[in-house]
Amino acid sequence: MKEFALMMIGAALVNNVILARFLGLCSFMGVTTRIDTAVGMGLATTFVMTVSAMADWAVQRYLLEAFGLGYLRTITFILVIASTVQFTEMVIRKVSPSLFQMLGIYLPLIATNCAVLGVALLVVEGRMNFIGSTLFAFASALGFSLVMIIFAGLRERLALATVPPLFNGPPIAFIVAGLLAMAFMGFSGIGAG
């Protein structure tokens, strides 16, 4: 239990997908202009990342390893992720058309989110068991969502601030992202003392 908790804290905060591994930067910059959209995107990514990690683990264990097809891992995982996104879209449309109208916009964006593939590959490299892999992916996705929401909050405040014209727009957003990354570096001290 303790090792799962430590692994999850490490995946969410110390080795954060966005700020330590530099994955998912397109969504990080593109969908963080409002907290509401960042929350929607974060929850959708959490769902897809966790479910696709579960599917990827099964595919790796019972197909790629069993038949010596490890060299097809990347392309297979891309297929699994795209299928998971499509499955999620179909299920939400079926479960509630109203929800699909509100949330459908986020799903296509996740298919091209490199963080989802990156976490799936990290899970395989970690050689964890099924529950460990799933919790690792879930914690990584929580870390992703946390950073998205914090950054969206900062950008909402920045929209009201007086920024020098030279830094207005993406430049100040990148500076804030850099400061946020430095703040998260503080978590790397966890366990060292």
Binding site: L99, P108, A111
Partner: protein, 160 residues
Amino acid sequence: MTASAPSASHTVEGIARVVRVDAGVAWLEPEQTGGCGSCASAASCGAGSPGIGEVAGRIAARRFPLDNPDGLLAGERVVIGVDPHSLLKAALTAYAIPLATALAAGGIAEGAWGSDLATMAAMASGLGLGLLLARIAARQLARRGDLAPRFLRRAGGSRA
């Protein structure tokens, strides 16, 4: 619905186009205005210009009805809005409930049997159960009208 810049009313706003008007009901299609549409992968993810992602098909699939007391006409562009709390409730309903039940079922199975196959089966069952619960919760939200977008105002640049 695509979010726009923050407004004074804190409503999440989006632009939609009226594609059909039936007796008292206007059918709208959301316009894609997301910032992601300009990235290098826009053609394949479906957020930008038409490409592999079949944007037209995706937008048509997201067509929705709206009461039409304001006499909207086909081709008009309108600004619609939803309460930001509704967006959060919708996201929690659709994603958090199935994920919570799947993880809970997986945790129980891992504690009880400690086998990967049993955990996998339990998580799949938990996911299915969660989706059923999400369906019930979504129906309640829809019945209360929490998920329905509201007409806010007409937007410029109508296309007939």
